[in-house]
């Protein structure tokens, strides 16, 4: 709730006047998404998450289907197809897909709880995650694709996959990254589009090309740095004068940094820390492995998005289009994050029921 409120406040600062004639366009819409999300969250928290396990195959197929559907009927923006246009907002299946993937993977893993140590299982789970991730990257939406991989990794990790398997996966991942970023371009094979590659590596040397790929990082750093200890309030020129691109979505944290300074940024960070700490607690409290894995997947999703998003605004991580949970403007993202939190609550609630039942017994 705190984060949602923060989102509204920050968006108020960030986007007022972005669209002439409708000063509060983004604010109102975000508020609407928040309300919808909260309702859904409450609904989800009431249902028994364990039932979801039964539908895991359908969920998985549904997820793949909706992502594929984007290619067919999705609308394009800035060179990528990520959205399906609905009457009130543009639905982004890959966002919902994150949550669906968590459920599907958790279900799959729990089904094979006895074969968890087998290499085959590890590979299968990895491939299950890799499939939709590849599709999303092809949209192209590299950032969300990476979230899928993070979720897959986290589920495997918490499920108890052998360390050696994890190490092998990590090794494969690193070599794949090296291949995509260094080797492939050198031999002329285009795994990633050049701009994607540039964006991924730009944060390492932002001043090398201040006009192009380094621009966003530089502007973001300037915005955050200029915020100083207590922020610039309405003097936040980087934000208000649009020097900072995407300031209402991917770079919203830079707005926090500029407008509210170190104090504000630290406060927002603490809220996330609190959220993740609570999420981790839900993992430990889950009444069964399915719940623990669900909670772990959601936690990983939140962690990854927070770290990558905040990291990119402060020049520590590559620029990938990952929204900051709840803070970034965007219907799909807000609603899905709230759904995920609803799921966490459901897990938490069932665990309490269980311990309550135990206590009664």
């Amino acid at each position: 709730m705190g984060l949602l409120a923060a989102s509204i406040v920050v968006l108020l600062e960030a986007t007022t006047g972005d669209i002439p004639g409708q000063p509060y366009y983004y604010v109102w819409r975000q508020l609407a998404y928040g309300v919808v999300g909260l309702v859904l969250m409450l609904a989800v928290s009431r249902i028994d998450y364990s039932r979801l396990r039964e539908y895991r195959n359908a969920i998985y197929l549904g997820m793949i289907g909706s992502i594929v559907a984007v290619f067919a009927i999705g609308s394009a923006a800035r060179g990528s197809r990520r959205w399906i246009e609905l009457p009130f907002f543009n639905f982004q299946p890959s966002e919902l897909g994150k949550l669906l993937l968590v459920v599907a993977l958790a279900g799959f893993v729990v089904d094979r709880i006895r074969q968890l140590h087998e290499r085959q299982t590890t590979v299968k789970v990895t491939l299950l995650g890799l499939g939709p991730a590849t599709l999303v990257v092809a949209q192209p939406d590299l950032g969300t694709g990476l979230v899928y991989l993070a979720i897959t990794g986290a589920v495997l990790f918490v499920a108890g996959t052998r360390w050696s398997h994890l190490a092998a996966l990590a090794a494969v991942g690193v070599s794949a990254a090296v291949f995509a970023l260094v080797v492939a371009p050198a031999v002329g094979v285009e795994v990633l589009k050049p701009y994607q590659r540039d964006r991924l590596t730009a944060f390492l040397h932002p001043t090398a090309d201040p006009r192009e790929e380094g621009y966003q990082v530089n502007q973001s750093l300037t915005a955050i740095g200029a915020g100083g200890k207590t922020g610039r309030g309405s003097e936040a020129t980087q934000t208000k004068l649009n020097f900072l691109p995407e300031h209402h979505t991917d770079f919203i944290f830079a707005v926090v940094g500029e407008v509210f300074g170190f104090v504000g940024a630290a406060l927002v960070l603490s809220l996330y820390a609190l959220l993740i700490w609570r999420a981790l607690r839900v993992v430990t409290l889950a009444k069964n492995l399915f719940g623990a894995l669900l909670a772990a997947g959601v936690t990983a999703m939140l962690m990854f998005q927070v770290f990558v998003n905040v990291g990119m605004t402060i020049g520590l991580a590559p620029i990938t289009g990952v929204p900051l949970p709840l803070l970034s403007y965007g219907g799909s993202s807000v609603i899905v994050t709230l759904l995920a939190l609803g799921l966490l609550q459901s897990i938490h609630a069932r665990s309490r029921e269980l311990s309550l039942a135990k206590a009664v017994a």
């Binding site: 364990s50 729990v110 709880i113 986290a154 990790f157 918490v158 108890g160 006009r211 502007q219 750093l221 300037t222 915005a223 955050i224 740095g225 200029a226 915020g227 100083g228 200890k229 610039r232 020129t237 980087q238 004068l241 649009n242 020097f243 900072l244 691109p245 940094g257 500029e258 300074g261 170190f262 940024a265 630290a266 960070l269 996330y272 820390a273 993740i276 700490w277 981790l280 993992v283 430990t284 889950a286 009444k287 069964n288 492995l289 399915f290 623990a292 772990a296 936690t299 990983a300 962690m303 927070v306 770290f307 905040v310 990291g311 402060i314 020049g315 520590l316």
Partner: protein, 620 residues
């Protein structure tokens, strides 16, 4: 139903470890972010704050209008008119060649010029001044400006600037005085006189504009504006208004200037004139024919225009013949010879020489112009009737006494710059034995100095080169008792309401010691030339209400070429205030063309209405 199988009542140690790892990762992640934020915001916040401010502030220079140039009665000779110019700013142009050419293509379509031409011109300007904006087109129409401003996104680097262009209400009148204004060059910026001028500023490049640039040039204003990421205007931060340059009042009288220009144009169309106050050096009018419309130079000059204006076959209109020409002066030089002879004691005002029409010196026979015999003449009469023989004799005798004639010519201002407040003045030439012998030694001439050279010089022929302003200064010195004035066109610097701020008058450069007797003898002779029977210009000035003294001159230009006509007038006589010098390059006898022109100018000067100058024909 499979609740039993996946039941996990307690936390397995393995799971606990892994969750702990996850938690640790989160902790490290938050710690890193936290410290990075601390570093960015608390430790280096100031630096980024400064960067953010640089990001949003652009300084837009507002060009200051130059001061106006007025004539002595306050009529505006050079004014300003605001104009909109399309400029291309180098660092805002797309760096990508294809996209840059796209901009030029669009500009070409808007302006109706080939994109190649625009690109070439812009590149040439960038090469000359790498960081200044290049002007694509001056004086663009409002619809074009509106279109460009509305399509800034598609025309990156193209800006509209309000500039002030010089306007010249009297067009060709006085064109040679004003000079031109142009962007300061990199070379000029290194000079002291351009201190405070910035790249891209427009400064005077010639004429009065150059000479008095530091007064005329104002101080540019600067508007600090806030812009967004695309450079779009978001609000004004501070405004420093431009300060218009000081007005400059010239000693020029527009009516006299106009009369002079018209008089010259009525002759062969090539010549020059100057009207000067003999006491102060104030130039009342100064002009050269053919003239040109200076507004050509208010914008970027087209190469074809420039060729036309410098083409000798066309009379080279840009040449200011009043200060840059260098002609033999003909008989008008005789006053110098007379002064030298009288002052060195070679003759007295009463000395008489018999003039039979010709004289033989060192085996060469020199003849009077027209072969006329004037009989026994003294210096007064010799000036009045323009006896060549009299001055030939003096030339020969002065040669025997060394370089007295040259010394006097030099003292009166020949062969040196007068110091007039116009750039580009030529010093002219007074031939001397040393000069010719040096040329001879270098094999640049076929013979050393002979007495014949001095004889020729004595009547203003041969190698003598002088321009009208030098003659005006020399005659002024004789008229005012020996003060060699520095001619001045600038009268004073004024503020916008006409209050004088600084006077521009220069003290006389030096004085020539000349006895009253000498002076009077010469002036008597000059007065005779316009009033006594037999005076060379007497017929010309018949009926003119203002008493004038003067001297005609006819300079031989060599076989087959028409003589150059001269007249120097002093008026009113005897309380002489003004000197008028007129020359017409192919006008023939001085009395024929130059003297009537001088009469027209004097008529304007003294406001003589309905004066009709009879055309004279007497040879000098």
């Amino acid at each position: 139903m499979y609740l039993e199988t996946d039941r996990r009542p307690g936390l397995t140690p393995q799971l606990a470890v892994r969750i702990a790892v996850l938690g640790f990762v989160a902790l490290v992640g938050f710690a890193v972010i936290f410290f990075r934020l601390w570093y960015l915001q608390v430790l280096s916040g100031d630096r980024y704050l400064q960067e953010a401010n640089n990001n949003r502030v652009r300084e837009i220079r507002v060009q200051a209008p130059r001061g106006e140039i007025l004539d002595r009665n306050g009529r505006v000779l050079v004014a300003n008119r605001p104009s909109l110019a399309l400029e291309v700013t180098p660092d805002k142009l797309p760096r990508d060649r294809a996209r840059r050419q796209e901009v030029f293509r669009r500009l070409g379509r808007i302006l109706g010029v080939s994109p190649r031409r625009i690109e070439r011109s812009v590149e040439r300007q960038f090469k000359a001044m790498p960081f200044a904006a290049a002007t694509v087109r001056q004086d663009v129409s409002l619809p074009v400006v509106a279109y460009v401003l509305e399509h800034q996104d598609r025309l990156p680097g193209v800006t509209v600037e309000r500039v002030f262009l010089r306007s010249y209400p009297y067009r060709e009148i006085g064109a040679h005085l004003f000079g031109t204004v142009g962007e300061v060059t990199a070379e000029q910026l290194r000079q002291d006189r351009y201190r405070g001028v910035a790249m891209g500023d427009r400064v005077g490049q010639s004429g009065i504009e150059y000479e008095y640039d530091r007064f005329l040039r104002g101080r540019n204003g600067a508007n600090r504006v806030q812009v967004d990421a695309r450079g779009r205007f978001k609000g004004e931060l501070s405004v420093r208004r431009p300060i218009q340059g000081r007005n400059l009042r010239l000693s020029i009288d527009l009516d006299v200037q106009r009369a002079g220009q018209a008089a010259l144009a009525s002759g062969t169309g090539r010549g020059a004139f100057v009207v000067m106050d003999v006491r102060t050096g104030e130039v009342i009018a100064l002009g050269s024919q053919p003239s040109f419309d200076p507004s050509i130079f208010a914008k970027i000059v087209r190469a074809s225009d420039y060729r036309r204006l410098t083409d000798p076959l066309n009379g080279a209109p840009l040449l200011n013949r009043a200060i840059q020409s260098g002609y033999p002066t003909g008989s008008t030089f005789k006053v110098v010879t007379a002064a030298a002879a009288l002052e060195t004691g070679l003759i007295t005002p009463g000395s008489v020489i018999y003039d039979p029409g010709s004289i033989t010196i060192s085996g060469i026979t020199f003849r009077n112009a027209g072969g006329k015999a004037h009989g026994a003449v003294d210096v007064r009469r010799a000036l009045t009737v323009s006896s060549d023989v009299f001055f030939y004799r003096l030339g020969a005798d002065l040669n025997a006494r060394g370089t007295q004639l040259q010394r006097w010519a030099h003292a009166l201002g020949f062969g040196r710059r007068t110091g007039i407040d116009l750039p580009g003045e030529w010093e002219g030439l007074v031939p001397s034995p040393a000069w010719r012998n040096r040329l001879f030694k270098r094999r640049l001439t076929d013979r050393p100095w002979t007495v014949g050279d001095n004889v020729n010089l004595a009547v203003g022929q041969g190698d003598l080169r002088a321009d009208p302003v030098q003659l005006a200064v020399a005659y002024a010195a004789i008229a005012n008792g020996g003060r060699v004035v520095v001619p001045r066109i600038g009268l004073r610097v004024e503020d916008a309401s006409g209050r004088p701020i600084q006077s521009l008058q220069a003290p006389p450069a030096r004085s020539v010691r000349m006895s009253q007797v000498t002076r009077q003898a010469i002036l008597d002779g000059l007065r005779g030339a316009t009033s006594a029977p037999g005076g060379t210009a007497t017929p010309v000035f018949q009926g003119f209400p203002i008493p004038v003294a003067g001297k005609t001159g006819t300079a031989e230009k060599g076989a087959g070429r028409a003589d150059q006509s001269w007249f120097v007038g002093l008026a009113p006589y005897p309380a002489i205030r003004y000197v008028v010098v007129v020359t017409d390059e192919a006008g023939g006898f001085g009395a024929e063309t130059a003297a009537p022109m001088a009469r027209r100018i004097l008529a304007a000067l003294f406001d003589v209405r309905n004066d009709r100058a009879p055309s004279g024909s007497a040879p000098d």
